[in-house]
Symmetry: C2
Subunit: 257 residues, 2 copies
DNA sequence: AACAATTTTTTCGTATTGTGATAATTTTGC
DNA sequence: GCAAAATTATCACAATACGAAAAAATTGTT
């Protein structure tokens, strides 16, 4: 873990992504990163004057407006999200009302929702909230990615949390897990119910970029309407969306101007 | 403009906030930043492996998932947004339906919407889109910040775009501008109509942090319902919201644990 | 208003490493 | 398969990032 000064700066910024801690003082960050106080002050100043963090009161720093600005650009300009929009809307139009469509991405050994589409805005129990990393073993949108990962990687993740894999019905040992992953891969789309919260059911298909899996597209239905009939009729719809995304992503790679 | 390596890295990342260019190749960034190609490659690699940018196809880089992750944390954890939520909702409840409430922040000599609240989701002509910097001279949410800036700063901005100041009725020369800013400051909230797009009208009040202006809260109404009566009756509501925000921000500064 | 306690900035010498130029390597498009 | 582009590796040197400690500025309290 040889680290240069830019990587340290980004690591400091990443502190602010921490799930349970949203604000940092210089001292806290200093001890957490193992950097001297004076240097940490220099980092804070650099990030603050560029707008990435901001002192909402003396000594307490939180994320700054530059993040919002970049997020807007990503929302507007990201090629994958752009390609997904129409596909997700079409998929959504065939689903029961109160369903939502989500686009997830494999990121840092986890799965993160990067875009959602819904017919009408309404509060739903958030299963995959945009921007919140989720583990690979829980929920359809995650499992379909896990199942399409190279076996070596899947195994590494299994070794890291075997109990969780068992808890979410992926198997108690590697042989079982390997078998259930193969089983999941053999289906056009995979279905789970109540794995994230208790009120939602998911139907997911993988998205590829040439060889390796990039992410997944999913429909999330209220579990009350997710009967066997409904989900099995939607399975080919979601599977088609995944394939369409895959071909669009490969198309994109050609069109570079 | 002495710049260290971390500042250069952030300047590279900020390229991706550019309004008309969402993707960069190493060469383009290299010439744009005036950095050697080899070093630009190193910067790209650093940003990419931390997830801040991502190559969606060989040689073309766009913003990466880490941005989404940080934006979520900001949405959830930002103290100013947190304080504003209930105030904005209450303000919204007294406004005509199809109105929205926005929270803006003074940032880099511009004004940026950092949060919006609405009763029901619906497509409206976006006047202040979240994350898009807007000039100080255009629209109520901007003008109220401009009017409460130190005169020296206001004058600097005026000198930078005097024609724009005139176009948006702030005056043709500094004496006139100074007078109209004083006039704006004297009102509890300020009202504009049709300055951003033609279909919206804005009512805005400033938010202070101790001495200097931090941002503004605003109601944005469909121009069709924004009659003289309606807006003048809402003016005190918005003004009160601004004052409440100001006192909440000052309260926050005390509560540091 | 004066004081103590933080927070932030400077100074400074040294070792670290960031840097550009060039070459080597890998990946990609045809 | 080959040509072209993209990416990484090598290297030598100057630039600067770094920690420690002191100075300055800001803040909270009496």
């Amino acid at each position: 873990m040889k680290e240069n000064s830019q990587e340290r700066l980004l690591r400091l910024l990443s502190l602010f992504a921490d799930e349970e801690k949203g604000e940092w003082s210089v001292d806290e960050a200093s001890v957490h990163l193992g950097i001297s106080a004076s240097q940490t002050y220099r980092y804070f100043r650099t990030l603050a004057s560029a707008g990435y963090i901001s002192a909402y009161t003396t000594g307490r720093y939180v994320l700054g407006p530059a993040i919002i600005e970049l997020d807007r650009k990503l929302r507007i300009g990201d090629p994958m999200i752009h390609a997904a929009r129409s596909i997700m809307r079409e998929m959504l139009s065939t689903a029961p009302s109160a369903s939502i469509a989500i686009l997830c991405r494999y990121f840092r050994g986890q799965v993160m929702c990067v875009h959602e589409e819904f017919e009408t805005y309404q509060h739903h129990e958030i299963s995959y909230e945009r921007g919140q990393p989720r583990p690979l073993y829980q929920g359809a949108a995650s499992k379909v990615i896990l199942a399409n990962l190279p076996l070596r990687q899947a195994r590494a993740y299994f070794n890291h949390a075997p109990d969780k894999f068992n808890q979410f019905d992926l198997g108690a040992n590697w042989t079982e897990v390997k078998r259930s992953l193969r089983e999941l891969r053999s289906q056009p789309a995979i279905i789970t119910a109540g794995e994230l919260g208790t009120s939602a059911s998911g139907i997911s298909a993988p998205i590829y970029d040439d060889k390796r899996v990039l992410g997944s597209v999913s429909l999330v239905l209220p579990i009350t309407v997710a009967t066997e009939e409904v989900t099995s009729s939607l399975m080919p719809v979601v599977a088609a969306a995944g394939q369409e995304m895959t071909s669009k992503m490969q198309h994109l790679a050609q069109l570079q101007q």
